[in-house]
């Protein structure tokens, strides 16, 4: 067997894992790995301008392709800069493998230069992490890292490699099989439970499918669609689930939760059965727990309860008690469930006719809406037009806040992996580097980051990355000169006291783009929006667009934090007095 250096073993392992793209930032601890990189032309390295950008880019690549994203950084500050990126990937179950350099083993614990206990720091925000103690363990550890990151409920894995392990020597053998005795992700659901779920569905008069990011991760979107169509059951999606079911499907109710549609939140509040698939009853979805889905959960009201399909047992009965838990891969479970359902003699259409009619009524009472203006650009209008102009085909990434919610509500996603957003952690600055990763993973796609002026500035340095590699991402900055979502809360619940949310002192984004050699545009007139977007989608290069929008537009519907999801604000309170009334009614003493 050939003896190889650690830095050679490193790249050989990546080749074996089928990696052809990595994001990173060199430094002293990983300098040998970078030195060796030139001997591996099969692997493309993209140099970001900040380690956080590297991890978000790897994450964007992973989410948009389904393949693991890889980032390489140096020890100490290089490693600590990855933490937000790792926590972002962790909360949204994204398979990212992060390699950090570390000081030589002999210096560990010594407060050495650029030393940080990154394994300790990232323990709570990785699926698993490793400190490699010897070169002979390197290949097996990398193999295990990719295996853990990509199987079961995926997640980020960090591998910390001390300098002496990198330069040390060992016989290279890439393990064929992985055997980790404490790790056996379940894939097949329990048939008895699946049958029980099918039987419950057959009894339901007012069922709803509530699906999340797990459907996309499992690649179960076809099965989900078959389930909905076969049983005439309406579907609502979480933010992470968008694209898991066609956004223009007649059975689609839109997103649910804090900024969900009226019909989706009414449906979840009035249904008699919830079929939860790859979703985790997050507080942004359930609102006030005691008031969540009370009819489905109350047997005396004819509620049939909750079926919950998830690959992670800890997601089940964590927040809401579940009647039929099914642990396993969503695709597998749904196909088995479909078998059972097909054998049943149920008039699905007749059984759900009243329910579907009621939903239609709710939807027509309060559809998604906003008031168009000829004077100032409404952000919703921009997204709506973008949807039309791109024919719903673009890959959209978002930052966090109002831009994210408008992108979720007003663009209708056709397919999985088309909408990429930081749902769990809510990381401002995610969308732009994630767009870079998504674009490199999908070279033919039109990739657009829907940004805010606050978020975009959080990783604005990645403009250099875009320039260096000619990455043709488009950034639409919905510029309102505010930290818009916080401002919205201040408007509605804090007497319009705009404490520290006015960020109208900002760079000229067009000039910033130009300073990097990137095209920059500004649009300010509503009538320019559509023609501009039409030309934008034809542009072959990176473009930064400063869209000057209504400064004080709000995202509606909105369920105030801690309120029941059926308790939606559909518009601004009309008068000051209504505002006062609102504050009295809603339990705002709840934490965010």
């Amino acid at each position: 067997m050939a003896k190889l250096k650690g830095y050679q073993i490193f790249w050989e392992c990546l080749l074996k894992e089928g990696v052809d793209l990595v994001f990173g930032y060199p430094g002293g601890a990983v300098i040998n790995i970078y030195d060796e990189l030139v001997n591996y032309p099969q692997i493309r390295h993209v140099l970001t301008r900040h380690e956080q950008g590297a991890v978000h880019a790897a994450d964007g690549y992973a989410r948009s392709t389904g393949r693991p994203g890889v980032a390489i950084v140096t020890s100490g500050p290089g490693a600590t800069n990855t933490v937000t990126g790792i926590a972002t990937a962790y909360m949204d179950s994204s398979p990212v493998v992060v390699f950090t350099g570390q000081v030589p083993t002999i210096l560990i614990g010594n407060d050495a230069f650029q030393e940080a206990d990154i394994v300790g720091i990232t323990r709570p925000c990785t699926k698993h992490n490793f400190l490699v103690k010897s070169t002979k363990d390197l290949a097996r550890t990398i193999r295990e890292a990719f295996y853990i990151a990509t199987t079961g409920r995926p997640g980020p894995v960090l591998v910390d490699i001390p300098k002496d392990v990198i330069v040390g020597e060992a016989e290279f053998e890439y393990p064929e099989k992985v055997h980790i005795r404490g790790y056996h992700p379940s894939t097949r659901g329990h048939p008895q439970q699946i049958r029980k779920a099918a039987q419950l569905m057959a009894r339901a008069k007012r069922p709803i499918i509530y699906a999340g990011g797990g459907v996309i991760i499992a690649g179960a979107h076809q099965e989900l669609r078959q389930l909905a169509e076969l049983t005439h059951t309406p579907v609502t999606l979480t933010l992470m689930g968008l694209g898991g079911f066609p956004g223009d499907h007649p059975l689609f109710l839109g997103m649910l939760g804090m900024h969900g549609t009226y019909v989706a939140n009414m449906a979840i509040s009035h249904c008699d059965l919830i079929v939860a698939i790859g979703a985790r009853f997050d507080d942004r979805v359930t609102g006030k727990l005691d008031a969540f889905a009370t009819r489905a959960r109350d047997e005396r009201e004819g509620g049939l309860g909750i079926i919950h399909i998830d690959v992670d047992p800890t997601s089940i009965s964590k927040n809401v008690k579940v009647n039929v838990p099914i642990v396993g891969d969503a695709g597998n479970i749904l196909s088995q469930m479909l078998e059972f359902l097909k054998e049943m003699d149920v008039d699905w259409e007749g059984q759900h006719r009243d329910w579907l009619a009621r939903l239609k009524e709710w939807d027509s009472q309060h559809p998604l809406q906003y008031t168009y203006s000829e004077k100032v650009i409404k952000p919703q209008y921009v997204i709506e037009k973008l949807y039309e102009v791109t024919q719903g085909e673009a890959v959209i990434t978002t930052e966090v806040g109002q831009n994210q919610m408008w992108a979720a509500l007003f663009y209708r996603y056709k397919r999985p992996r088309q909408f990429i957003t930081s749902g769990g952690l809510g990381t401002m600055g995610f969308g732009f580097p994630a767009a870079i990763g998504a674009q490199l993973g999908n070279p033919e796609a039109l990739v657009i980051d829907i940004a805010g002026d606050g978020s975009f500035q959080m990783n604005i340095q990645e403009l250099a990355t875009v320039a260096q590699y000619d990455i043709p991402v488009k950034v639409l900055i919905l510029n309102n000169g505010f930290l818009g979502m916080v401002r919205q809360w201040q408007e509605l619940f804090f007497d319009r006291k705009y404490s520290q949310t006015d960020i109208s002192v900002q760079p000229d984004f067009v000039k910033v783009a130009e300073a990097y050699g990137i095209k920059g545009y500004r649009i300010e007139d509503p009538k320019d929006v559509e023609p501009f977007l039409k030309s934008l989608v034809k542009m072959k290069e990176a473009v930064i667009v400063d869209v000057v929008v209504d400064r004080e537009e709000c995202v509606f519907p909105m369920v105030p934090a801690g309120a029941a999801v059926s308790n939606m604000l559909l518009d601004r309170p009309a008068t000051e007095k209504n505002g006062e009334e609102l504050k009295r009614l809603l339990p705002l003493n709840f934490p965010s």
Binding site: R123, P124, R181, D312, S317
Partner: protein, 174 residues
């Protein structure tokens, strides 16, 4: 989840874990980050030196206890988790305590008597103090501590509980 105070249960959980650095930190970190209680935790090598066995005594609402077991299973370095209390199987649990008590004057005879009653041992003697070793279940240890208090306890060290199922059943790796 918000839970009312009633319905809180105390459970003893047995774990087999990888015997390598950082595993304790992962488990302790899990309990602290999720705000779970730990009443005691003890750990030691098994017959297979690559595996350690842990006994954790924790408490919480039944749903929280269920989560604790699931969360522990989710850790890659945790090989096996059994909630001994939840299995309904009978198990033996023991804890050891070392007490340094005053042993001057009347207290000297009293401390010896109590040690005897609890079938403990005096493992160190000085003119002023005894170090007493007592092993037993939680109730016995607690009773011994209460009775020795009047003598004056200078130091108290407990191992935390260890537990094993009764009968032929045992915790196996796979």
């Amino acid at each position: 989840m918000v839970h009312e105070d009633h319905g809180i249960q105390r459970h003893t959980i047995a774990l087999l874990v990888e015997n390598k650095p950082g595993v304790m930190a992962r488990i302790a970190g899990l309990f602290s980050s999720k705000d779970y209680n730990i009443h005691s935790l003890s750990v030691g090598e098994t017959m297979d030196p690559s595996v350690s066995r842990m006994t954790i005594v924790t408490s919480g609402h039944p749903l929280v206890l269920e989560q604790i077991v699931k969360q522990l299973r989710r850790l890659i370095d945790v090989i096996k988790v059994v909630d001994l209390t939840a299995t309904g199987e009978k198990f033996v649990d023991r804890e050891m305590v070392l007490l340094k008590v005053n042993a001057k004057g009347e207290a000297r005879a009293e401390a010896m008597r109590i040690t005897d009653i609890f079938r403990g041992k005096i493992v160190d003697v000085s003119p002023e103090t005894f170090v007493i070793e007592i092993t037993g279940d939680e109730g016995k240890i607690q009773a011994a501590i209460e009775l020795l208090k009047p003598c004056g306890i200078r130091e108290l060290v407990r191992t935390g509980k260890v537990a094993v199922m009764r009968g032929p059943k045992s915790l196996k790796l796979a």
